[in-house]
Symmetry: C2
Amino acid sequence: MNTENIPDIIVSRIPVYLRALQRMSENGITSTSSQELSEKVRISAAQIRKDLSQFGEFGKQGTGYHIPFLMDRLRQILKVDRIWDVAVVGMGDIGHALARYPGFANRGFRVAMCFDSDPAKIGTKVGDFVIRDVANMQADVKEAGIKMAMITVPAAAAQDVVDKLVEVGVCGFLNYAPLSLQVPPGIKVQHIDPAVGLQRMTYYIE
Amino acid sequence: MNTENIPDIIVSRIPVYLRALQRMSENGITSTSSQELSEKVRISAAQIRKDLSQFGEFGKQGTGYHIPFLMDRLRQILKVDRIWDVAVVGMGDIGHALARYPGFANRGFRVAMCFDSDPAKIGTKVGDFVIRDVANMQADVKEAGIKMAMITVPAAAAQDVVDKLVEVGVCGFLNYAPLSLQVPPGIKVQHIDPAVGLQRMTYYIE
């Protein structure tokens, strides 16, 4: 099946389906329907069926989806049937929270190294990590072959950090700095900004 | 101008435009064009012009946008020309980071109170806040008239917390728990999940 030209909007929903399936699986449930999944993820059953059909035939008329099989396939599609090492750059409050975040387990990611520029932080421990000097970031990330990074430095420093990481092969950025990052074609960025999240809701409040 | 039926996808981009304008303004820039804004936010100039035109006439042919005026109007549209009090429920690492997050200043939000269920945390301080007992959450939130909450409790507890907050008038939730929340019509939820963010990028990495 050709999955080269799947629209971004469909790809962006697959992790949400996978998360709901994983939660059902942890609760001992082994099969589901597009209707049941729809209630969990608040996306219509028709949309779910249409999205999944882009990638193949996963369900059977009348019996629905076998959860372990569907999870395996979605993990393969998202390439999280492996563990990706991730670097965290910027060890303020959010960097600390990410370094110790329990939610990456079983979802394809592992924080591998943490960096900061503050001499008072470099060499100290956060969870299992010794905070590294950002001056060595390019060499360390390159040597480890890390492809993903979470950026939690101040806005003024973020673009420079990202440029340096792109140079050594990082191609996916989860950006917590409150600005839109500039990256070359082929490099992916996802932005996380709680103020943007809140502003997306106040519009609707009477 | 009737702004009742603006598509969600357009509303969701307005905070991103506002953030870029705010950053330009902080750097002393007072006017911009859809082309310049396009480079900052990585959305096409045509799309920006089309989005903004839904809400009125903000720019002039040839002279572009006056940033302070456009910021004022976008703040009015998003209803962040005021300060919204926000409750944080769940004072783990992420709750701590949110309680002390500097990025809400000037963007329409202020953390007003923090809750946890752990007796060892209740009564202790995080930044300027004394952590409150979640047993009093409904009464405290109702008395303060709080409309927005950030949920950073474990997945198993999140739905119950949200149900209780909806009962006392909260109508916007920024959800950090790794599940899709069920809410009545008219109640808004935005999800923040770093593992979902990362999974949205690995699909594209060769």
